[in-house]
């Protein structure tokens, strides 16, 4: 093994050597630097391998010919080897990234860079406090020096502010070191620790100064204006070094120095970290400058790590895993993003849409953003999960809330950025200059992140229980993205079929899961068929579609809460990106993500609360939660965001309406059932034993009823066909929620029937309407009309769809309605029931509006030549119609086993539906879908024949040939009553459809933004103010501690 001291020697030696070189020899200087850095990488990697392969013994490196307390010693152990390794890798790649800039600006730049790297290595390895001071100064000066790479005077100003702030901070550090020596008689960390220090007041003060200085080096909010300016002003390559490198070294320093203090820093570190985490992330919301935003995010992440560091004694054995997970994702993602920023070379985050010109960069950008936010399977997810669970075990609920709030704000601005990059206005100028040395580092970091995820997944407590096949398949699809769409589509469909076949025996005896698996898988396959109509590559569609379906299937397969949450997040992520693909869906996808993120975090907290007091993640722990009320409500609200309950529904219409034609049915007909399945699991597991659950269920019942009412009412007033359907989904999910809240046998049967029905008819309708929209290129119903002639098949599909939707006998919709009434009256929730019935009649209004405005009336001139939708849209529709017909005629095929299962389970043994052949009956009434179908069918045919008999000579005339007050109308538009169709209804009941929820959330939004915007004004830009911040910060922490 190579002695790690050679890292320092070689780096410094080559720095001095390069000082000898002349300008002509820059090439040589570059090669020398790369070699030196590569050597550093080699040494640290070999040590890391050495330690990870079972070696325990820590290497002590002595200098100056004496033993530690008297001379400076360095240490190389597992932790040191890890941190030097990551930093050296970063250094090597960072240098390669900056190589060209250094060449252009003269060779001295690489000298500074090498010295910076050397300083960071020493900082990690050294065990001497004064040595820390010296090399912190080296690192600070090198950082300030590297600012020269940007020429504008703003970077000089930032450099000065940085220097003066760091100067003040290190003054405090030096005072602390001096008094530490005075009281302890040593400068060596280990010696001090072994001497079993008696806590003299003086030394605690000295240690306080040392620690607070290190903490200030970590840029805690709000005493961090100087650092933000540097992030913004520096060359992005340098910012990457600061954010990932220096911060890493500093946080390891803190980790190293914390044991010195006999004071319990835990609460302070937690508070400092959390304030930083939440504060920076809130401020990030109002930030428009990309680099500064990354700075905020960076500081926020470091705050998060500080919190974890503070929690270290409480986290016990899990600490390392948690810290590592959060650290490595911050490390990789932040460096990657800063590097990408250097390629983009744009200030405003809006202009980053230029990234779309290069799909590799775009992919990496998204990858890093998601890594930061911590979506599974990205590395930080595992740590966050473990952290929250541990916190829950120790009842740190407020911490959980704060951490998740911070993460939420971070997600907010990162996703806004993500969205703007993906869908924002196109940059006109082609200014993306891509050089290999700029691309290589982020590419490698992406790969590292993937590897890190893999290892973290294996190392995490429940990771091994995950089914990773879908993830591998997604990765494969990313790699195959260059293939034409139809090949990928076939691949995906095949895979899903195979998966379904594999899955079936596992869940065959669980009808509940079977139903939902059927909806997810069959629905998925059907909707994917529509994708065949799309030509070209359809880049970036299939991985995310598979991600969504993988998530949904994961929900079904989940055996523990980890898997469940993992899948939940996967599904959310996939669907978000699918929605984002729509033409105008930027803001809607963003809203969707916000609500989903919030909802997911509530679920997260709910799971954590349930986990308290347990030692397994099994789904069953929900049933023995020690805080049933809280976990119940939080989980329920979390799921309700996905099912778009009233108040949480505002994301849905836009998201569903603006998605692509074949995505709308996926997210509306299928995805929403994910939320329903969550609710079902929740209700099944937590039951309704406690009184608080009863109250909650009652509230949920009302919520469902009101959602149904408002959703349907809003649907009536829509002019946009897809939006109408989307609001209708809100309403329908309201029914389902309502019926679930009954917690009775028939109630649940109702909900399940509704779920199946909603899947069938909403997928059908969205496919049909999506096809129409694809042909006529408008969403506005009043711009269509008379399309029945051009698109008879779509008309039939819509007709069947709305008959089912409205619950008109004989089709399957009526099954839901009938069950519903029986359930309502048995349960005794009459008024809610009446409300829901009223909603049902309202549904009838928009059904008519939908079919009339689009297909009936006079055809518009410009659409006279449109064609029927592609065959690939019709095939799934046909299958769905067949499905509806079967379900209508023989509901017993599905409902009987379902009912039996519900009756046999522990939960709903009472009042089941009794079946006699095809007739179902309850205590209240009876219903025979088969016979009704038969009677109505026969009657309809007879009457049709009767009319045909009577009107044998019926003469087909042109549609324009109408009785129009004795004249012929002069253009079709004047005859088509479709715009503002139910305006009188609006006069009567429009007050119910006031956008209260939208207003509320807008209010929340604007308040948050105002808070963010006014808080960030503490960063006045004045270097002096920043110093005052630092002083105040020190004082406040001091006063709190002593």
């Amino acid at each position: 093994m190579v002695n790690p001291i050679y890292i320092i020697a070689i780096l410094l030696g080559s720095a001095f050597l390069i000082g000898l070189f002349q300008k002509k020899e820059k090439g040589l200087a570059g090669i020398l630097s790369v070699l030196a850095l590569a050597f550093a990488v080699f040494v640290s990697v070999s040590w890391f391998i050495h330690f990870t392969s079972g070696q325990q013994e820590v290497l002590q490196i002595f200098t100056g010919g004496a033993r530690p307390p008297f001379a400076i010693n360095l240490q190389m152990g597992l932790e040191e080897s890890l941190f030097t390794m990551v930093i050296n890798v970063l250094g090597l790649l960072g240098f390669i990234y900056l190589y060209r800039d250094f060449r252009e600006e003269g060779i001295k730049g690489s000298v500074i860079f090498l010295v910076l790297m050397m300083a960071m290595n020493v900082l990690i390895m050294t065990r001497d406090i004064f040595n820390i001071f010296v090399f912190l100064e080296v690192a600070s000066i090198a950082t300030a020096g590297l600012l020269y790479l940007k020429k504008d005077f703003r970077s000089s100003a930032a450099g000065f502010k940085y220097l003066i702030a760091v100067g003040v901070i290190s003054s405090f550090l030096l005072i602390g070191i001096g008094f530490f020596y005075l009281h302890s008689g040593t400068l060596n960390i280990d010696t001090y620790l072994q001497s079993n220090p008696t806590a003299v007041k003086g030394i605690s003060m000295a240690i306080f100064l040392i620690l607070i200085a290190i903490i200030l080096e970590l840029k805690p909010f709000p005493a961090n204006g100087w650092a933000l300016d540097v992030y913004q002003a520096a060359h992005p390559g340098i910012s990457a070094m600061i954010s990932s490198g220096t911060a890493t070294a500093s946080i390891y320093l803190l980790y190293k120095l914390l044991p010195l203090s006999s004071n319990d820093w835990t609460p302070y570190l937690i508070a400092i970290g959390l304030i930083t985490f939440v504060g920076s992330n809130i401020l990030g919301i109002a930030q428009k400058n990309g680099n500064r935003l990354l700075g905020y995010s960076s500081i926020g992440q470091i705050g998060f790590m500080l919190t974890i560091l503070g929690l270290a004694p409480r986290l016990g054995e899990h600490f390392h895993f948690i810290f590592l997970s959060i650290f490595i994702s911050h490390f990789l993602a932040k460096a990657g993003l800063f590097w990408i920023s250097g390629i983009v070379q744009k200030q405003n985050i809006k202009e980053w849409s230029v990234l779309r010109k290069n799909s590799l960069l775009l992919f990496m950008f998204g990858f890093f953003i998601l890594t930061l936010i911590g979506f599974p399977p990205f590395p930080s997810f595992y740590g966050k999960w473990q952290l929250i669970m541990e916190l829950a075990q120790q009842r740190f609920f407020i911490l959980i809330v704060a951490i998740l709030a911070g993460s939420f704000f971070e997600g907010l601005y990162l996703f806004r950025w993500f969205g703007k990059v993906m869908k924002g206005e196109e940059e006109k100028e082609n200014s993306l200059v891509i050089k290999w040395e700029k691309i290589l580092p982020p590419v490698l970091f992406t790969i590292f992140a993937v590897i890190a995820s893999y290892f973290l997944n294996n190392a995490s407590e429940y990771g091994h229980s995950l089914n990773l096949i879908p993830i591998y398949f997604i990765i494969l699809l990313f790699l195959l993205d260059f293939l034409p769409a139809w090949i990928k589509n076939s691949l995906v469909i095949t895979a899903m079929v195979i998966y379904s076949v594999r899955l079936y025996p596992l869940i065959a005896d669980d009808s509940l899961r079977l139903i939902f698996a059927g909806i997810f898988m069959l629905g998925g396959i059907l909707t994917l068929f529509a994708g065949y109509s799309i030509k070209g590559k359809r880049a970036g569609f299939f991985p995310f579609a598979v991600m969504m379906y993988a998530g949904l299937m994961g929900l079904i397969e989940a055996e523990n809460l980890f898997q469940f949450f993992f899948s939940w997040e996967l599904m959310t992520l996939g669907s978000y990106i699918l929605i984002l693909r729509g033409k105008k869906s930027l803001i809607h996808a963003f809203n969707y993500m916000l609500f989903s993120l919030g909802g997911a975090y509530l679920i997260f907290i709910g799971i954590a609360l349930s986990y308290f007091g347990h030692h397994s993640m099994d789904l069953n722990i929900l049933s023995s939660s020690t805080m049933p009320g809280w976990s119940y409500s939080l989980l329920a609200i979390g799921f309700l965001t996905k099912t778009a309950a009233l108040g949480l529904h505002i994301w849905l219409p836009g998201a569903h309406a603006e998605a692509e034609s074949d995505v709308s049915p996926m997210v509306s007909g299928i995805l929403l059932k994910g939320g329903v399945f969550g609710l079902i699991l929740l209700f099944l597991l937590m039951g309704a034993e406690q009184s608080e659950q009863h109250t909650l269920l009652y509230v949920l019942g009302w919520l469902g009823a009101l959602t149904a009412l408002v959703g349907n009412l809003l649907a009536v007033f829509q002019e946009d066909a897809k939006r109408l359907l989307a609001y209708s989904s809100v309403g329908n999910l309201g029914y389902i929620l309502f019926a679930l809240a009954f917690m009775t046998n028939v109630g649940w049967l109702t909900a399940l029937t509704y779920s199946i029905n909603h899947f069938l008819f909403k997928t059908l309708l969205f496919l049909a309407i999506g096809g129409v929209v694809m042909r006529v290129k408008t969403h506005k119903m009043y711009e269509m009309g008379g399309l029945i002639k051009q698109m008879p098949w779509s008309f039939i599909a819509v007709l069947i769809g709305i008959i089912t939707l409205a619950g008109i006998p004989p089709l399957a919709g009526y099954a839901g309605k009938w069950l519903f009434y029986n359930a309502v009256i048995t349960k005794g929730w009459y008024f809610q029931g009446a409300l829901v019935f009223f909603s049902g009649t309202i549904a009838f209004l928009y059904c008519f509006k939908l079919i009339y405005s689009i297909f009936l009336g006079q055809p518009k001139d410009k659409f006279r030549k449109v064609k029927e939708v592609p065959i690939w849209y019709i095939i799934p529709q046909a299958v769905l119609i067949i499905g509806i017909m079967i379900f209508s005629a023989r509901p017993d095929l599905i409902l009987k086993p379902l009912g039996n299962m519900l009756a046999q389970s522990n939960y709903f043994p009472t009042d089941p539906l009794s079946w006699e052949n095809v007739t179902a009956s309850t205590n209240l009434g009876y219903w025979s879908g088969y016979k009704i179908m038969l009677v109505i069918g026969v009657m309809f045919v007879i009457l049709l024949l009767w009319l045909m008999l009577m009107s044998r000579k019926a003469q087909k005339i042109k549609q324009f040939n109408i009785v129009y007050a004795g004249e012929r109308p002069f253009k079709p538009e004047t005859t088509h009553f479709s715009h503002n169709m139910f305006s009188h209804y609006y006069k009567a009941l429009g007050f119910l459809s006031l956008p209260l929820a939208t207003g509320f959330w807008n209010g929340v939004n604007s308040v948050t933004h105002q808070v963010a915007d006014s808080t960030r004004r503490i960063y006045t830009g004045n270097g002096q103010t920043y110093i005052i911040h630092i002083l105040i910060y020190i004082l406040i922490v001091y006063m709190l501690m002593f």
Partner: protein, 303 residues
């Protein structure tokens, strides 16, 4: 019971109801005319209209849906008839009520309306669309008190089966829902006004503003079918209310009398009150009828 015999009785019942419907509308129109100091039409005038329409030679159709509209409409009427038990205690006159209960009838009402609306829609006349929009909008409000009443009945009688509801009302006039649950009856009878489409709720058809309403484009055979349906539907709806609130009927005589009186209630109110616009009728329906429906349920819940 033999299914063919059943069908025979069903057809017979349908025939009776159709005729009674035609006659009843003739009588009613005669009465209206007399109240208005006019001579009015002959009582058998509806028959003449019907025959005339069925035998008109000009039969114009705008398309498949236009053609199917009347079929849907008539199916809706006949369907409700089929699912309705007519005479209490008689298995012969209970039609196909074994297939479904009250909820089935409540929802099957939509069937005909939908067909009509679609057929009218394809006609392409703007007034059709306007009429349909008005009709549907008003209908949603009509259904609310009616539903409340149905729920009240279900609570009261613990069943949704019409036959059983009728059975529970036997044994004297005081057992009628009218007296055992007057609030529900009030709610239902007020919503009945809206359902019948007489003044003040007749803006849908608006006979003064000729030509308007869903059937604007229909004529000849198509109109005949629609008129057939109307005759059947009026009687069947009256029979429904009779079954639910007025003790049902033990024989055809009682049925005819009661249905006439119930129907006449709507006509009577219509003669007295002027017409509502839709945005007026909806709030009206959501006031007194709604409140009495809610009160009916509240009272039952307190019990």
């Amino acid at each position: 019971m033999n299914i063919f015999l059943k069908i025979l009785f069903v057809l017979l019942g349908l025939f009776i109801v159709l005729n009674w419907g035609l006659i009843m509308s003739g009588i009613i129109r005669k009465i209206i005319a007399r109240v208005g100091m006019r001579r009015g039409i002959k009582v058998y005038q509806p028959y003449i209209n019907l025959i005339k329409n069925y035998s008109l030679r000009s039969q114009l159709t705008h398309g498949v849906m236009f053609y199917l509209g009347p079929v849907f409409r008539l199916s809706g009427g006949v369907g409700i008839f089929l699912f309705m038990p007519l005479i209490y205690g008689s298995e012969y006159w209970s039609n196909f009520s074994f297939t479904g209960d009250l909820i089935l009838i409540a929802y099957f009402m939509f069937f005909g309306m939908l067909g009509m609306a679609l057929g009218a829609g394809e006609g392409g006349h703007p007034y059709s669309g306007i009429g349909v929009a008005r009709g549907l909008a008003q209908f949603t409000a009509v259904e609310v008190p009616f539903t409340l009443a149905i729920i009240a009945l279900a609570i009261q009688y613990k069943t949704l089966s019409i036959s059983e509801i009728v059975a529970a009302q036997q044994g004297g006039i005081m057992h009628w829902t009218l007296f055992t649950n007057p609030l529900a009856t009030i709610a239902a009878m007020l919503s009945f006004l809206g359902a019948m489409g007489h003044s003040p709720f007749n803006v849908v058809m608006a006979p003064q503003e000729n030509p308007i309403g869903p059937p604007t484009e229909y004529h000849g055979t198509f109109l005949g079918v629609l008129q057939t349906n109307r005759a059947i539907l009026h009687v069947v709806e009256a029979v429904l209310y009779m079954n639910l609130f007025f003790g049902g009927a033990g024989n055809w005589g009682v049925l005819i009398l009661k249905s006439f009186l119930i129907y006449f209630w709507a006509v009577f109110v219509g003669m007295v009150f002027p017409r509502f616009r839709v945005d007026q009728s909806i709030p009206w329906l959501l006031k007194i009828p709604l409140v009495s429906g809610i009160l009916a349920i509240v009272l039952l819940m307190i019990k």
